[in-house]
Symmetry: C2
Subunit: 336 residues, 2 copies
Amino acid sequence: MRIAVDAMGGDHAPYEIVKGAVEAQKELGVEIILVGDQGQIESELKKHDVHIEKIRIHHTTETITNDDKPVYAVRHKKDSSMVVGLNLVKEGNADAFVSAGNTGALLAGSLFRLGRIKGIDRPAIGAPYPTQKGISLLVDAGANAECKPRNLLEFGIMGQIYAEKVLQIEKPGIGLVNIGAEEGKGTEVIKQAYELYKKNSLNFVGNVEARELSRGAADVIVCDGFVGNVVLKLTEGVAMVIMDMLKQQLKKNFITKIGAAILMPALKSFKKELDYTEYGGALMLGVNGAVVKAHGSSNAKAVKNAIRQAKSFVEHGVIQSIVQELERIGDDKNAD
Amino acid sequence: MRIAVDAMGGDHAPYEIVKGAVEAQKELGVEIILVGDQGQIESELKKHDVHIEKIRIHHTTETITNDDKPVYAVRHKKDSSMVVGLNLVKEGNADAFVSAGNTGALLAGSLFRLGRIKGIDRPAIGAPYPTQKGISLLVDAGANAECKPRNLLEFGIMGQIYAEKVLQIEKPGIGLVNIGAEEGKGTEVIKQAYELYKKNSLNFVGNVEARELSRGAADVIVCDGFVGNVVLKLTEGVAMVIMDMLKQQLKKNFITKIGAAILMPALKSFKKELDYTEYGGALMLGVNGAVVKAHGSSNAKAVKNAIRQAKSFVEHGVIQSIVQELERIGDDKNAD
């Protein structure tokens, strides 16, 4: 298994990226291709005890930053670590690509370089979503602000396969984010998507209200990219503000400070449950290749977990399974 | 000031409703018209020390429940406490109406009975949204799943006036919920709404990402009713799950239990900051009358605060100010 890693993408590149890649190589036994500036990568590699024949460098001269316009950047920065990394996958020189760089550029680049899976109209971003029960998968986390009913069906099909194969959830349930649990709620697009789900033999749990998402009401949370972006970012924002407010309360006086000191280990372990670095990254679902987007502020652990995820994605043949499922559903529909 | 109160609506009706109304009468000096079943209301009133000439009963024979289809219910249950309460406002026999009943029915009933403010295309639900800085107002909290750009502009105009007059926020800033802070992000409708905001002289702070809402990035949070419903319910769900998870952590062992006991007052005071019963209810903004929707599970305090809000809405002439602002903006546009 050869995994290309964008050494230049992310807030802590190349330091944390290289560190995470080295750890992943050791722990997961994969081969790593670090894509980026040779000099910088070499000086990072020197800091670690590296299994040299398992870690290669692929030198590039350009970097796509978060300020770059996605489509323009992937068209013009042809020797960027991101575009070159995607090319390695396209040409069969790597089995997967992991980047903590510009999300929009990674999506656009994946589409341009790898194309779509046959039968998928619009690829989407699948993001891990922490719930009280464990990890759900949110699709679409931001690729398509506007969707057709057919897109929302495809998001569920792809998400279900990923949840089953990689997240190891048995019979994952697909829920459609809506403003009421009953059938017939929501926008025209959502009503039609609901009908499509009912027609096809998928494990569809129906509409799910936003209040139930954190409880783990659906293993695969389906919505358009606008709502998905709101769900992810709002969850992050609310959690941060609650932790802040709680900390303020704990600092109020001498007694609460003692209480806070006693509780610190519990609070830390609680924080860990909400920690994105544990969950790995987001998937470019529907593109014809394994591409994982690690969080922009990824540390080495987050990078390692994103590499683990990419490995699992390839090993479990997620793309092949999506193709098969689309064929099966196509047959279903003809039988209608 | 005469405020009609739906004595039959809400999970704890009529007990908590009557109790809250009696408290509001004493504290706020308003006249109360309790609308609903005379027998039930009388037996509730007996439990309190009532200022009898300030609290009247308007007997009705029907009740709209949460299971009723909104439009059907308001058309057919003509002697329901909700429809009759709205009629009291329409006919000038009450200055405002407060209900903790079926939200959809209250919206439909307000539209049918009271009509729209001239110049408002689509009324919306304005809901208080707790942030780190205080209370913001979210418009639309669920009335219109699909919106035109013009609707999103009107939501901001109405919200701004309410925030200034009733929430007493000086120069409230209007933010448009979007998937990025920069101009040109989001759906076509949102891009056009952004342009409308820029053209009109309002205190528009631009696009606001969901992550910033809990920080209080906008005093008036504008979005369509689908996104608004997701924002409100997700915030509630995330807060509940975080509190649950934290409680689990605090129960872990003897030491953390001691810590938890020390912190209990701080935790309670923290919970109060998130407590909806403090904030009153949601507004039917854009209908031609003062209608406040109290939370379905309102206790007496929440009912009292919803009545306070209705009183303030009328006293500050919110509807007249909306009419004036629409005229001013209409003039602005002609001047363009």
